[in-house]
């Protein structure tokens, strides 16, 4: 198993093919390295700009550009439209500055590109009302972190909640409200399945799951201490404050 970009590049020089691709997009090349579980450093040059992407076991773990380091650098580099992409033996970073999956990074870069494109062709808009539908949301990655209420305090608005349960990660019930036996199982299962789906899609950590069905709203989330919480209420019950905290 290759464990450093230098050894990877060296091994590549000794055996296998070298290629000179024309017309490939940078996301295609990045994807190729990630799907190949590569560990290497790549230098990307685009006009006067250059940057480095560090791959470890198929994930982008670090990036450096002239202007930035970490995720910001990766997004900058992934936004370049033309240039060259070549393995190099730049020093390996002492710390990893990127934790996002490569899929999430490519998507964030694509979103950034789309937004920049929109800015170029944006039509003039009338802003006659307060909160406009066309108001631009903050870019991906700037969302404030979700902080669920601490376990000792119930959510500020708990009136109307019919059933609730709080349980440890291993399934031990900490507290309940109402007949919460079925809700306990639902909470554990919903958060588990949600996390698996998120892993498969490269979405990062699951924060919460919300379902609305047959006049009932269910919320499943992790509290500030990593415990699992499940709540059930009629859909007309006001849970706005909690939903806002959970980013729903």
């Amino acid at each position: 198993m290759k464990d450093s970009p230098g050894s990877s590049a060296h091994a590549a020089a000794e055996e296998g093919f070298s290629a000179n691709l024309t017309g490939a997009s940078l996301p295609d090349l990045v994807q190729m390295e990630c799907l190949g579980n590569s560990t290497l450093t790549v230098r990307v040059i685009s006009g006067d700009e250059d940057g480095y992407l560090y791959f470890q076991s198929g994930q982008i773990v670090h990036a450096v550009s002239t202007n930035a380091v970490g995720e910001a650098a990766a997004l900058e580099i992934l936004g370049w439209n033309r240039g060259t992409f070549e393995p190099c033996s730049a020093g390996w970073p002492t710390t990893h500055t990127i934790t996002k999956s490569w899929q999430a990074l490519l998507m964030a870069a694509a979103t950034k590109r789309d937004e920049e494109r929109r800015k170029i062709v944006d039509f003039p808009r009338e802003r006659t009302h307060g909160a406009s539908m066309s108001q631009k949301p903050p870019p991906v990655g700037t969302t404030p972190p979700v902080s669920a209420p601490p376990p000792s305090k119930p959510p500020a608005s708990t009136r109307g909640i019919e059933r609730a349960v709080r349980l440890e990660v291993d399934g031990r019930v900490v507290s309940t409200r109402g007949d919460a036996e079925e809700l306990t199982a639902m909470t554990a299962y919903a958060l588990r399945i949600g996390a698996l789906v998120g892993d498969e899609l490269g979405m990062g950590d699951l924060r919460a799951v919300e379902s609305i069905a047959n006049g009932t709203r269910r919320l499943f989330y992790y509290d500030g201490e990593g415990r699992l919480v499940g709540l059930e209420a009629r859909t007309d019950v006001e849970l706005g404050e909690l939903r806002d905290k959970l980013g729903l």
Partner: protein, 111 residues
Amino acid sequence: MLTQALTGLRDVEEVQGSFLFGDEGELLARDLPPVFHAEIFATVGPRLLRLREMLELAPNAGTLTLRFSDHKLHVRALGRKLLCVLTGASVNGPALRMAMNLVARRVEGPS
């Protein structure tokens, strides 16, 4: 035709793609960046179907939202199908609901 129906969702800012599962969790259509390989949907579909079954989502009104660090996955039951939309965290909810309603009409329409 189904894929074409899904592309309309991209009119809403922060929508990154969408996909549609059949009643067995099989992928019927997708409008997603190529970073998502077809194989992952073979497990995502049945899992979302199990979640739907547990939560008893009503055939044409049940909704499910999964909130991740920077993204959301919005799931809506369309008959026995599941419409899934992947968005950024700050997506405009009302605009997305309307776009999903329109897709729902097209998906359920003539059949």
